[in-house]
Amino acid sequence: MKYMLLIHTAATQSDAPTSDGCEVEDWMAYDKAVQEAGIFVAGHSLADLTTATTVRVGPGGERTVTDGPFAETREILGGYYVIDVPDLDVALDWAARCPGAHAGGSIVVRPVAEF
């Protein structure tokens, strides 16, 4: 069963890259563990939210492109993993091990819909 781990980091005033309390080595170690466990399906880290652009298409087909969104909440989506594990408990264990779950961040675990 596939689960997406949505990694939300605490939004900070300073925008310092290591302000989430996790070092690059922590992320590398975690990524290595996910790969070696044979559960990795997909995963990316997202560039800074200030680089985001939003697109909407209106009922008449007109396209609106805007800068942002900007962080209105305390936590912003910083990256994700999709993992393939037997059940939610295993997915929650992997989420708890993720550096993004620590130091004020959180991981939202969502099952990937099956059709």
Partner: protein, 427 residues
């Protein structure tokens, strides 16, 4: 929600006895079916069908020597039939089962006899932290207590549609997010077991001190919680906090008859007729306390059981071992710091050191936001103010408690105290 038992009234004594057996067997049957087929919906459906078949057969043929085995065999046949008819469903379940087997292989099917007790898995699934807190109790009563949806609704004083919605929502999450049917390993157990005990205890406290409604106590809920704790105690005999929770509930529930007066009003511990306490239940509770408190550091349920035991062993308030109770509250506060425990400790200090000492502790908690709407806080203050002869302040505190009280018996008790305070001649 399909539930044949809810649709028709009990017609005959035979039927009632069949239903009693079913209620006893339901959790065990359901858990074994879930284990076998890995799907709660299918398990509930075929369990209901097996019961329907029993309700038809047993009054005619007599109750079989092994009712649980009969129900299991019948349910299992129905499930196999169902899967034969619905190939897509079967294929989906097969995939689920293969994945579940990756984590933990299913043992081979057994003869109806000697059905392994798989209920512990179901306990952990029903109390999984990924389910919403209000859904957990309903699901546990439904799956392990064998209550129908309307029975759960009556117990919680909510419309059946609300309970049905909660159960559907919980089952959907279990199935779609794939919350497993498993007992956490020894390393996870300390983290997960308190969640299970919390669900059982919240069912009990809702039954013991109903948060709303005409009745102070809803004994069926309290008794159901005790029944669930007895099952847990059998399944986890080495867990001290399970023993502690069962002991605590028994030691509190033993006082049920003395808790309400002739007019249905609340009677507090100090005024209860202790001759009406249930001695056999107290003995059962007391016998569990050593198991709850030995073999490691005490847990919060064990400590609360020890406090309840001291009350239950005392002949009256005056001879209660208050120094020991205060000491136990200190232990409890260290384990689970909470303003509510502080209030109880202050009341015990008042009985050890006098009302002024207790009141000073209560007044120090005045700024605590969680106590602002907590009736026992206002009641305890009123009581101590009254004992100190500060009548005007006591009356104000009783009025405050009266405004907060959720049930009619609580209000009746407070009105009586207030009336006695305002016209001492008639008290």
């Amino acid at each position: 929600m399909r539930d044949p038992r809810a649709d028709r009234p009990a017609e005959t004594g035979a039927r009632a006895s069949v239903e009693a057996i079913f209620r006893e067997e339901h959790g065990r049957l359901l858990a074994a079916l879930v284990r076998r087929f890995g799907d709660l919906d299918l398990a509930e459906e075929v369990a209901s069908e097996a019961v329907e078949a029993a309700l038809v057969r047993w009054p005619v043929d007599g109750v079989p020597p092994n009712p649980g085995g009969w129900l299991m065999t019948t349910a299992r046949r129905r499930a196999v039939d169902r899967l034969r008819r619905d190939k897509a469903y079967a294929a989906r379940l097969a995939i689920l089962q293969v994945e579940a087997d990756r984590a933990e292989p299913v043992p081979p099917a057994e003869a109806g006899d000697g059905l392994p007790d798989e209920r512990l898995r179901l306990f952990f699934t029903c109390s999984h932290p990924a389910l919403s807190a209000e859904d957990r109790g309903a699901l546990m009563l439904r799956c392990l207590g064998g209550l129908t949806t309307p029975e759960v609704a009556r117990a919680f004083l909510v419309p059946p549609a609300t309970v049905a919605k909660r159960i559907v929502r919980a089952k959907k999450k279990i199935s779609q997010a794939r919350i497993p049917f498993r007992v956490p390993g020894p390393d996870e157990l300390p983290e997960r077991l308190p969640g299970v005990l919390q669900v059982v205890y919240s069912i009990f406290t809702e039954g013991y001190a109903a948060s709303a409604g005409p009745d102070l106590q809803r004994l069926d809920l309290a008794e159901e919680a005790i029944r669930l704790a007895r099952i847990l105690r059998r399944l986890l005999p080495a867990e001290r906090e399970v023993a502690g929770l069962l002991a605590l509930m028994l030691l509190i529930h033993a006082r049920r008859a003395a808790r309400t007066g002739t007019g249905g009003e609340l009677v507090l511990l100090d005024e209860q007729d202790r001759g009406r306490w249930d001695r056999a239940m107290i003995e059962e509770g007391l016998a569990l306390v050593p198991a709850a408190l030995t073999g490691g550091p005490p847990g919060p349920y064990g400590v609360q059981a020890a406090i309840a035991a001291l009350h239950d062993e005392a002949a009256d308030v005056a001879t209660t071992d208050w120094p020991q109770i205060v000491a136990l509250y200190d232990v409890l506060l260290a384990l689970t710091p909470s303003p509510i425990v502080e209030v109880n400790r202050a009341a015990a200090v008042a009985l050890r050191d006098g009302p002024a000492a207790g009141l000073a502790l209560l007044d120090a908690l005045a700024a605590e936001p969680r106590l602002r709407a907590y009736t026992p806080y206002a009641t305890a203050r009123a009581d101590l103010l009254e004992r100190l002869g500060r009548r005007a302040e006591a009356a104000a505190a009783y009025r405050q408690a009266l405004a907060l009280a959720g049930t009619e018996p609580e209000r009746a008790h407070l009105r009586r105290r207030l009336a006695a305070l305002e016209s001492p001649g008639e008290a």
